[in-house]
């Protein structure tokens, strides 16, 4: 029997393997070291994340594992074609690891302050990272499913981490049911794709050619739509959005930051990749659905928070609106416009948008996590009164994230929207571009309201004093500053990041 396990495979999946070994090391040390401390778990996590980030960025010299900066988007496959490695996937892996590292710094401080810090938190973060990268890099629907479960199961636990608080457990149970039902639908889709094509491997499903009205074609079409639907539950666009506000509100705020960023990064990366493997005529049906979902999400996500007083809910609804902007890019695939360049533009616009969105979301929810500090229910606008005097740094961070969400020019969020609009306009979707502009103008109202409450002089500003602690902790400080600088400064480098992502987007399959 030939040797089916090659050392090459481990090298090609180095980032995931490092994260998994870090998690297993923490698990092992907890058993054999009696006085195992949380700080050691934190540093193991930090080292694993930095090592993965290093390999993703620079590659491993002398092997087939190429990094972001060493070029070669061609890559290769590992584990008998189960995992794919190319420039596109490296970009998304980098983004997942970056978001996870920033969140790790915030979690360290916030959970230590709320007396929730246990070594297991860090272990779960590593599983989430590995699962998300597996989801994006899977070349087989089976691997994708397992990666998705590996990244969602820890989130159920982390959402209920503050288990003495009723709202946290409620959020966890809601997230559990919505997520498992979404994944069950996706699994049914995988079964139907398998039934329609006889294989679960993406690169084997794609070349199969069918007669339009054959039975296997119908199975395959139903299967693809169910899979995309399952991912849309994760991305939280409008018909599947019911859980978002409650879950984001109830879960601990730092965990919400992770949920709103990492889950969406990996789901968006995976969907855009899967769409490239769908048979072209199915795209025509799918595009109609995507336009409806996108418009509904934009309208709902910008209208619902207008009379909302809870800050976390405002950001939760705005994440629905941003999901609407994001999925407009799912309409572009190789055959649609006879020009592969538009697909490439869409891919890199999507990458830049999800980059700015993830950083801004983390900044917003992490700042809220600091401000609420164990309050039973989240912050409201009234709590923000006089924030600029009591805690100028937090007021600044909150304003930066709100303005970036609103799309105010020098900030990163503006350039993200600009790229999306450019792609939509050059493809001729004028009405969609108009809807996008109008709805985001409506949205500016509640983002500006956050800045207004944080900086305006109110008469009764001491009504809630004593609740807001100053920003503490060296790790959290540095993470907050780095994120804020990225949100402020990415816009100036938007063109080069866009062009850099474009090189990788040539080859997505």
């Amino acid at each position: 029997m030939e040797n089916i396990f090659k050392f090459q495979d481990l090298i090609l999946s180095a980032p995931q393997m490092i994260l998994i070994s870090g998690a297993l090391l923490i698990l092992l040390l907890q058993v054999i070291l009696p006085g195992f401390r949380k700080l050691l778990a934190f540093y193991i996590t930090l080292i694993s994340l930095f090592a993965s980030l290093y390999f993703v960025t620079f590659g491993i010299p002398g092997t087939a594992f190429y990094g972001l900066l060493s070029g070669n988007p061609e890559g290769g496959t590992a584990f008998q074609g189960n995992l794919r490695l190319n420039g596109y996937i490296q970009h998304y892996s980098f983004l997942i690891l970056l978001a996870l590292t920033i969140i790790l710094f915030f979690i360290k401080r916030v959970f230590a302050e709320q007396k929730l810090e246990l070594a297991e938190v860090y272990q779960f973060l590593l599983y989430i990272g590995a699962g998300s990268i597996f989801t994006v890099s899977a070349n087989d629907l089976m691997t994708m499913y397992i990666g998705l479960e590996l990244s969602s199961l820890p989130f159920f636990i982390l959402a209920a981490w503050d288990r003495g608080r009723a709202t946290a457990t409620e959020a966890a149970v809601k997230y559990f049911f919505l997520s498992t039902i979404g994944i069950a639908f996706m699994l049914l889709g995988i079964a139907l794709v398998y039934g329609g094509s006889g294989s679960t491997m993406l690169s084997e499903v794609f070349p199969v050619v069918f007669a339009e009205d054959s039975f296997s074609y119908k199975l395959l079409a139903a299967g693809w739509f169910l899979i995309i639907g399952g991912f849309l539950v994760k991305i939280a666009v409008v018909p599947f959005h019911g859980w978002v506000a409650d879950v984001y509100d109830g879960a601990p705020s730092v965990i919400t930051a992770a949920m709103a960023s990492i889950v969406k990064i990996s789901a968006v990366g995976a969907v855009f990749r899967i769409l490239q493997f769908m048979q072209p005529d199915m795209h025509m049906i799918l595009n109609t659905g995507i336009i409806i979902f996108a418009v509904a999400s934009m309208v709902y996500g910008n209208m619902a928070p207008l009379n909302q007083n809870n800050l976390k809910r405002v950001f939760a609804y705005s994440s629905i609106a941003h999901a609407g902007y994001i999925i407009t890019m799912f309409m572009f695939f190789p055959e649609s416009f006879k020009a592969i360049s538009l697909r490439t533009e869409a891919s890199s616009a999507l990458y830049f948008y999800i980059l700015t969105y993830a950083l801004t979301t983390i900044l917003a929810f992490a700042t809220i996590a600091y401000l609420e500090n164990g309050e039973e229910r989240g912050l409201t606008f009234d709590h923000l009164k006089g924030l600029s005097k009591k805690n100028p740094f937090a007021a600044f961070l909150l304003s930066v994230s709100a303005l970036s969400f609103a799309g105010i020019p020098p900030l990163a969020g503006f350039f993200g929207k600009l790229f999306l609009l450019k792609v939509l306009l050059s493809a001729g979707y004028y009405y969609l571009a108009v809807v996008m502009i109008v709805t985001s103008l409506v949205g500016v109202y509640f983002y500006i309201r956050i800045v207004f409450y944080a900086y305006w002089d109110f008469e009764d500003e001491n009504a809630t004093s004593g609740m807001l602690p100053p920003f503490r902790g060296i790790f959290a400080w540095s993470a907050a500053i780095v994120t804020a600088v990225l949100v402020l400064g990415l816009g100036f480098y938007s063109e080069s990041i866009f062009n850099f992502a474009r090189v990788a987007s040539e080859l997505i399959q």
Partner: protein, 101 residues
Amino acid sequence: MEIEIIRIIFLTVVLFSIGILGVLTRRNIIVMIMSVEIMLNSVNLLFIAFSRYFQDLNGEVMVLFVMAIAAAEAAVGLAIVIALHRNYHSIDIMDIKALKE
């Protein structure tokens, strides 16, 4: 005796719908978790049917993975239910509405 594949697809869809209906209509969270398990197991049935139809082992391997993950999911779900019961003293989904206020 071979059974036609379309009948198994039909059976799967029926079982899957029973699962969805169970999640939507039942009020006890543990029964809802059991309904999710019915959904996953109906998909397992479909995988085995296709696997036999194509004479291909991939589908059966998938079933093993799904069973393992469903077990992990049930463990996590029941743990969350225990935490929930400590806070609300109930596992009726109608009583759990602190976030709606």
